[in-house]
Amino acid sequence: MSAQTLSPLASAGTTTSNEAADSFLGRWGALILLIGFLGIPLLALLVFSFATAWSGTVLPSGYTAEHWIGALTSSDVLSAVGRSLFLAVAVCLINWVLVIPAAYVSVVVEPRIRPWFQALSVVPFALPWIVIAAGMQLTVKEIAPGLFGTVGLLVLTLSAVTFPYLYWAVENSLITNNAKQLSEAARMSGASLPRTLLQVIVPAIRTGVMSGSLLTAASVFGEFPITMTLIGGGYETLPLWTLRMFSGRVPGAGAELAAVSFATFALLFAVSLLITRIDTTSKPADPVRPPARIS
């Protein structure tokens, strides 16, 4: 049958299958490209972390788990991870205490100050962090010399530069969840401000809090210039350990570095997936009781 003699129904069928193919390419093509773009370097990193030697060939000449075992049992690595984790947790805690109430005030209580908060939260992106660190050092030297060169100053500085990650996420979440109305409903129900915040607002915006915290923790985990400027090698975090491995030219350090980098990525990716999972599974709420079985 020639193309000219196709019935309208058959033509429609061809069009539909063409549309389906286009839709498939449109939907999956971009995703495949993105995975390729992001995935190939990660895959190379993973392969390199298991390679005995990889030079001049498409694939490594041999594989070993020694770099992973060495990295994950190294006291230097474990200490650095511990310090970085401590910083991430401390910064998140400080930001929760300061940023969540501040965002609540700017969205619910006094929306007129919102542009000020928004402008303030652009500063850490506009100024190089090393400049902020130097500024903090100079200020602290004058007004609180006891803090100079301490982990406390590092935590405070990191909190200050990472607060926009939490602020934007929380502010957005407060707006999309109608926090003003929820807050008014809670107040009309006789709730105090702390009860309103803890029992109504924070649970309603938990996804925003979690994603903002993840961004904060990730950026603290990988932060290098502020730590280097404020404390230096005296408090070796994971990025400082990475620098030492690079600059020390230690044989096999590259593969260990790859293992640690991949492990860090995998950890953050897993936490991110967990947050998404919590968000999607928590919506349908309480188990709906199954219908009674008729015997």
Binding site: S189, K283, P284, A285
Partner: protein, 359 residues
């Protein structure tokens, strides 16, 4: 208990006066609706009573106690919002229990009270669900139960039906009235829908531009609006400007009222669409006016006619029911008449006379 006294409430945003020296007394157990067009200040007034809105001057008393400076959570007022505002992380039961926990009630009492409330609003089957699993009407019933649970002195309803579809709205409207009567709580209801206000209220407070135009029983507001602005908002009225002559207010053969106005006095006569008597046969009623049908709008149970009496440029609206409506079509000629007792007479915007008692 639940008497409310609003005294000289004033609120402005810059030069824009939202509440203009407004005073109102609401009795215990009364169901009062604040009715008016968008921007008239009805929601602002409700939020002022709730304590959610600051105001510039005035005083609010509940049961004789000045609550002007009390925060919302200490006023003992329950409120239902337009968009439900249920707590999404809590089940129906926990939503209803929330105000009871906030006031420090014991857990056994909370459980008992929540049981009563879910039964009152007919949500026993859904008590373990979260808000997202409920329909709009069910969510609003949960909001009502939550507001009533702690035995508030007063209930405020901020357009609670406007987000619902027509069928659910009518059902919930009847349910709200039934529950309010059962509980006997003083209730203030904000709406821009006059049928809702008339169906629910003991008294309707008609507002415009931040002031109260009239506060009266629904039937009085409907039949005898005291100001021409009120008349324009309620029902489908027509207005005709008439000059008094020889002790009469006459508009052709449409109506003819006795009057004591001096000759040449200009007044506005207003009458409801359903009070216009229409006959499909223009010659059937000798004493009646004849008019041309400009347009007929079929509305199901009734039809609305835009009519222009012969020898007049003024259009009026008539609402006709039953088979008469089916015989009338666009451009047809009909006979019409308005009885004198159905005409309200306004001078300088104020109701001067109703029906045949024109001054």
């Amino acid at each position: 208990m639940g008497n409310v006294s609003l005294q000289h409430i004033t609120k402005s945003y810059g030069t824009n006066v939202v509440l203009d020296d407004l005073s109102l007394e609401i009795g215990d157990g009364e169901f009062v609706s604040l009715l008016g067009p968008s921007g008239c200040g009805k929601t602002t007034l409700l939020r002022t009573i709730a304590g959610l809105q600051h105001f510039d001057a005035g005083r609010i008393e509940v049961d004789g106690v000045d609550v002007t400076d009390l925060p919302p959570q200490r006023r003992g007022i329950g409120m239902v919002f337009q968009q439900y505002s249920l707590f999404p992380n809590m089940t129906v039961r926990r939503n209803i229990a929330f105000p009871l926990q906030a006031c420090g009630m014991k857990s056994e009492q909370i459980s008992q009270r929540v049981d009563e409330m879910v039964e009152l609003v007919g949500l026993t089957e859904h008590q373990h669900k979260r808000p997202k699993q409920l329909s709009g009407g069910q969510q609003q019933r949960v909001a009502l139960a939550r507001a009533l649970a702690p035995h508030p002195r007063m209930l405020l309803l901020d357009e609670p039906l406007s987000a619902l579809d027509a069928q659910v709205r009518n059902h919930l409207r009847d349910q709200i009235r039934e529950i309010q009567r059962k509980v006997g709580i003083t209730t203030i209801f904000v709406t821009h829908d006059q049928s809702e206000a008339f169906a629910l209220s003991d008294r309707v407070v008609l507002m415009a531009r931040g002031e109260i135009l009239q506060a009266a029983a629904p039937s009085e507001i409907y039949a005898r609006p005291k100001r021409i602005e009120a008349a324009r908002f309620v029902g489908h009225r027509s207005e005709v400007d008439i000059e008094a002559r020889n002790g009469r207010l006459r508009w052709g053969k449409v109506f003819d009222l006795p009057s004591t106005f001096a000759d040449g006095t200009r007044v506005t006569c207003s009458f409801h669409g359903e009070r216009v008597r229409v006959s499909p046969d223009p010659h059937s009623q000798p004493g009646w006016a004849r008019a041309t049908v400009i347009h007929r709008t079929y509305l199901g149970s009734v039809s609305q006619l835009r009519l222009r009496p012969l020898e007049s440029d003024t259009e009026i609206v008539a609402t006709v029911t039953g088979t008469a409506a089916e015989l009338i079509h666009d451009d047809a000629q009909v006979a019409l008449r308005v009885d004198e007792q159905d005409v309200n007479v306004y001078e300088s915007g104020q109701l001067i006379a109703a029906g045949g008692s024109a001054r």
